[in-house]
């Protein structure tokens, strides 16, 4: 056998040029021949002779097979390539939490450990290629110096994504095969593994096909109180109760009672107390609230901040709640049945967006129904004044008095006037429709409630001359009187409406807007108002000084060309009174309504002209108002595009609730104002949870075939790793064995000896 210093391995090989099947066939033939020969010797009486002859034949056959296979030795030159072991270190913000009593952060504990096991890692590196990467959640190479010096800041923890990224490097061919992963983290995943290792997440871990050994770092004994989650619908219906569920976790607060407070833009809405039973306890507290206004509002749930808490930013959490209207709830109070009331009722009853509650005065004490037993013979019910003007008043979106005044003292509402006036001032809507009992001679004055009416009676007798109401310049732009699309079409419609048979004489109060007036009659030197509107406190009120708007519904159809002016007029009036967002000329929306800490606040403003066409090239100004301080902290300006839309952004403000207040103008013409709410969160998902999730780390190790450990640890444990190193062949040289003279001599000797003995024994 020849050896060379350049070759460092060898193996036995067959050097026969024959193909495998030929070798197998010849070998089979050889074996058959030997077998037949042995069969021929079976009648040999002497066992010793038989044994000798068989042995000789078998040895000869083996020798022949040896020559057939042409054995040789192959000397080889081999090289060993190392597989990869990845060390992944979590660089998310939660790794900055303190991990030991000396105040070192979790990241620093990991750095210290890796430094302590550096010699063992060095030894491991002789068999495997080691690399250390940080993930936040993107992978990036990391040194222990950087681990010590640079605080972790990643906004999210996504363990599965990091593991996949490491595995993908192997599949892309950019890296060697992976033998194992060492994962250092606190396990506070807020991505796919947040809910644990189950379902698709579990399958994804199994698909890695590489053992992941986990090293959990962090201290369980952190003292921390956190509002972990708030569960509430995205929107609520006004005056409908909703439930807000708040999850509060306390670590290190066992046995303590904690107050939980719910605020709406600084105002306390509700508060409850919870008892934390154990050192690590999660309590759920529910708040029921009934929003009383439509719009978007920022609510904040907060628990107190205690000393030595690991993180204080997670003690409060804000959310934005949009409050909308389901149906407009209308209270219609009618002084006496008239055709005006009949057509208004017909319209409101058929509108699916209106929930109508009505009360008519069908009989006064001066009326004589001529019945012996009123209770049994009349369908009349007592007028529930206390219920509708007191208890249930604030359940209505709009209150309509249609020719409602009273000559009967039993129907006096003087004791409720205060409440009605306050209802309007605090955001309610009121409509006074004329007739003799409202502004006419038969009226009873409402000294307190009357302050909320945009028009006041003059005491003059009503005019009974037919006339056609005239649209004022303000009415030409107002949504109530827009009975057609476009200002000129609307004006034309008003001039085509039938004459009305008379009106009450009133005068507008200071600040009221007159939308329709009398073309000929005057009060105090100005055209007598027919329709007046105004904002009263947070509410709105309107007054119509005729009781014949039903002419627009009925009489206008006598010529056979039906219109919807009547429906549109009253529909617009209701929507304006309840502040329907679609009727505003300026719509302001915070986009998104909740913002993560450190992200900018975006606001979208949509401006429309008074005829509701998009207001292009309008100048928009947006203020960002801090609800906490009630101060404007920033202002942005912009210009609307062809679609009337503009978007502005504010640099990231401090956490807390804010209102964005916008105004727009086109040239000299103001286009209105609007506002919205936005919540800037105090903590992102990383800092809201200070706990160590050792269970998740253990599950990851178990599913992938790795092992789980907990820092601090002494030395590098024997972690499971895949596959021995791969051997690759470089140069090689074959050395034949079969052509040695002594092998040939042995074959000849065996064949010769067998032949001699066969002859001796008489077989040849």
């Amino acid at each position: 056998m020849t050896s060379s210093s350049t070759y460092n391995a060898w193996k036995l090989v067959s050097l026969s040029p024959l193909p495998s099947w030929a070798l197998v066939a010849l070998g089979a033939g050889l074996v058959l021949g030997v077998a037949l020969a042995l069969l021929g010797l079976r009648k040999e009486p002497l066992p010793a002779r038989r044994a000798v002859l068989w042995t000789l034949r078998i040895l000869a056959g083996a020798a022949a097979l040896f020559f057939l296979l042409e054995p040789g030795i192959r000397n080889m030159q081999v090289a060993t390539v190392k597989n990869r072991v990845a060390i992944l270190v979590d660089r998310s913000a939660s790794m900055a939490f303190p991990a030991d009593s000396e105040g070192r952060s979790r990241a620093q504990v990991v750095a210290r450990y890796l430094e302590s096991v550096a010699p063992e890692l060095q030894a491991l590196s002789e068999r495997f290629s080691l690399e250390i990467d940080g993930f936040d959640p993107a992978l990036a190479p990391l040194s222990t110096q950087a681990l010590n010096a640079e605080p972790p800041r990643g906004g999210r923890t996504d363990l599965l994504s990091a593991l996949r990224a490491v595995k993908a490097q192997e599949q892309s061919g950019s890296q060697k095969r992976l033998s194992g992963i060492l994962l250092f983290s606190d396990g506070a995943d807020n991505a796919e593994l947040q809910q644990g290792v189950a379902g698709r997440a579990r399958a994804a871990l199994s698909d890695l096909e590489v053992p992941v050994s986990t090293f959990a770092v962090g201290r369980d004994a952190l003292r921390d109180l956190a509002v972990e989650a708030v569960k509430v619908d995205d929107f609520a219906f006004v005056r409908n109760m909703i439930t807000v569920e708040v999850e509060v976790r306390g670590r290190g607060f066992g046995g303590q009672t904690i107050p939980v407070v719910l605020r709406r833009e600084g105002q306390v809405v509700a508060s409850k107390s919870i008892q934390l039973k154990s050192a690590d306890d999660l309590q759920v507290v529910s708040f029921q609230l009934t929003p009383d206004q439509t719009g978007r509002f920022v609510y904040t749930v907060a628990v107190p901040v205690f000393p030595e808490e690991a993180v204080s930013e997670n003690n409060s959490r804000s959310f934005v709640l949009k409050v909308i209207r389901d149906r407009v709830r209308v209270l219609l109070v009618v002084g006496r049945p008239t055709w005006d009331e009949r057509f208004l009722r017909g319209l409101l009853r058929q509108d699916p967006n209106v929930d109508l509650i009505s009360f008519y005065i069908l009989r006064t004490m001066s009326d004589d129904p001529n019945v012996a037993n009123p209770d049994r013979e009349l369908s009349l019910i007592p007028f529930p004044m206390d219920e509708i003007f007191n208890t249930k008043l604030r359940t209505f979106d709009v209150v309509i008095f249609q020719n409602f005044g009273y000559t009967d003292p039993a129907l006096s509402i003087s004791q409720y006037e205060d409440n009605l006036e306050r209802y309007i001032h605090e955001g309610g809507a009121f409509l006074m429709i004329g007739g003799d009992r409202s502004f006419g001679e038969g009226r009873v004055s409402f000294p307190i409630l009357g302050r909320a009416f945009p028009l006041e009676a003059t005491g003059l007798p009503a005019s009974v001359e037919p006339f056609k109401p005239r649209l004022t310049p303000e009415g030409a732009r107002h949504p109530i009187t827009a009975v057609q699309s476009g200002a000129s079409a609307s004006e034309s419609s008003w001039s085509s409406m039938p004459e009305l048979p008379g009106m009450n004489f009133t005068r507008p109060r200071p600040g009221a807007t007159v939308l329709l007036d009398h073309p000929g009659l005057q009060v105090d030197g100005k055209p007598a108002p027919v329709l007046g509107v105004w904002e009263y406190g947070r509410g709105r009120a309107a007054a119509l000084t005729v009781d014949s708007s039903w002419y627009w519904a009925f009489t206008s159809h006598r010529q056979g060309s039906p219109t919807r002016h009547y429906d549109r007029f009253w529909g617009n009036a209701l929507r304006w009174l309840v502040r329907d967002p679609d009727l505003t000329t300026l719509k302001v929306t915070a986009d998104p309504p909740s913002v993560e800490p450190g992200k900018p606040v975006g606001v979208v403003v949509v401006a429309r002209m008074p005829d509701y066409q998009p207001a292009a090239d309008a100048e928009v100004k947006v203020d960002l108002l801090s609800v906490a301080t009630q101060k404007v902290i920033a202002t942005q300006v912009g210009t609307t595009g062809p679609d009337g839309m503009a978007r502005v952004e504010f640099p990231p403000p401090e956490p807390g609730p804010y209102r964005v207040i916008a105004s727009a103008r086109k040239g000299e013409r103001p286009l209105g104002e609007g506002e919205d709410a936005v919540a800037v969160r105090a903590v992102g998902p990383e800092l809201s949870d200070a706990s160590v999730h050792t269970d998740l780390m253990e599950r990851i190790a178990a599913v992938t075939g790795g092992k789980s450990y907990r820092l601090p640890l002494s030395g590098l444990p024997d972690v499971p790793l895949l596959d021995p190193p791969v051997v690759e062949v470089g140069r090689s040289k074959d050395q034949p064995l079969w052509d040695r003279w002594y092998y040939l001599l042995a074959l000849v000797a065996l064949l010769g000896a067998e032949w001699f003995l066969r002859r001796r024994f008489g077989y040849v």
Binding site: G335, R336, P337, T338, W339, D340, E341, R342, F343, R345, G346, R349, Q350, I357, S358, F359, Y360, I361, L362, R363, T364, D367, D368, P369, N370, V371, D375, R376, E377, L378, S379, L380, I381, P384, G405, T407, G435, D436, G440, E441, G442, R443, V444, A462, V464, P501, G502, M503, V546, D547, S548, W550, A553, F554, T555, H557, R558, Q559, G560, P562
Partner: protein, 264 residues
Amino acid sequence: MTRRRYIGARMARWMPSRRAALAGLCGAVASAVWPRTARAFGDSSRFVPAVLQHRGKWDARLSGLRRLAWELGRRTSVEMVPDARPLPISSPKLFEYPFVYLGGDGGLPALSEDEVENLRRYLTFGGFMLVDANDGSDGGGFDADLRREVQRLLPQSPLTPIPSEHVIFKSFFLLDSAPGRLLRKPQLESCNLGKRAAVVYSQNDLAGAWSRDESGEFELEVTPGGESQRELAIRLGINLCMYALCLDYKDDAVHLPLIMNKRR
């Protein structure tokens, strides 16, 4: 007697007593403080029944309608004009009177196309028509002609019986029956447009029970129930007016429990 004393004596005859003066002063103060009786904006704000003029005998019961309006004003809070305004069926003025009465004693000649078109539009856009067979016919006379004309007028909304739980029977008075001067048919019939009864038809000559003569006496006898039946007919008339004015107000949920309680 001196002149001054004479003048004083003469004046004393004409001066009111102190009691009367005090009463007058109270009255003046009261009228200043207390609202006067309301006057609506002319007739348009009041209930005024219109009567449709057709080419048959349409005016047999005008006094009944005037009486009905008067009873309505007396017994309820509705302000009315005690009148019956005759109007041609094709007149555009129909649209100023959301309540019309169509009665007939004998045949009802076919309406012209213009009349059908106008009346159909009137009913479609919210008008109410009370139809009354003054001759109490059933199968012939006014009844047969009326059914023919209703078929032309509202082919998609035929006459159907009004059930006893309909709001017409509780719109002011609680009623169980629908008598008129006669009680030929126990039920009223209606043509409904959506949920609204646009046409209500009685074969019992309702207005016949309401009619009074010049001296104020009721004109016609009511059979078989006599004066108690007449009172029920007046109440039914008032209920029909209230239905025209208030639609289904008494069907609102807030009224139901009380009404059901009363009916027990």
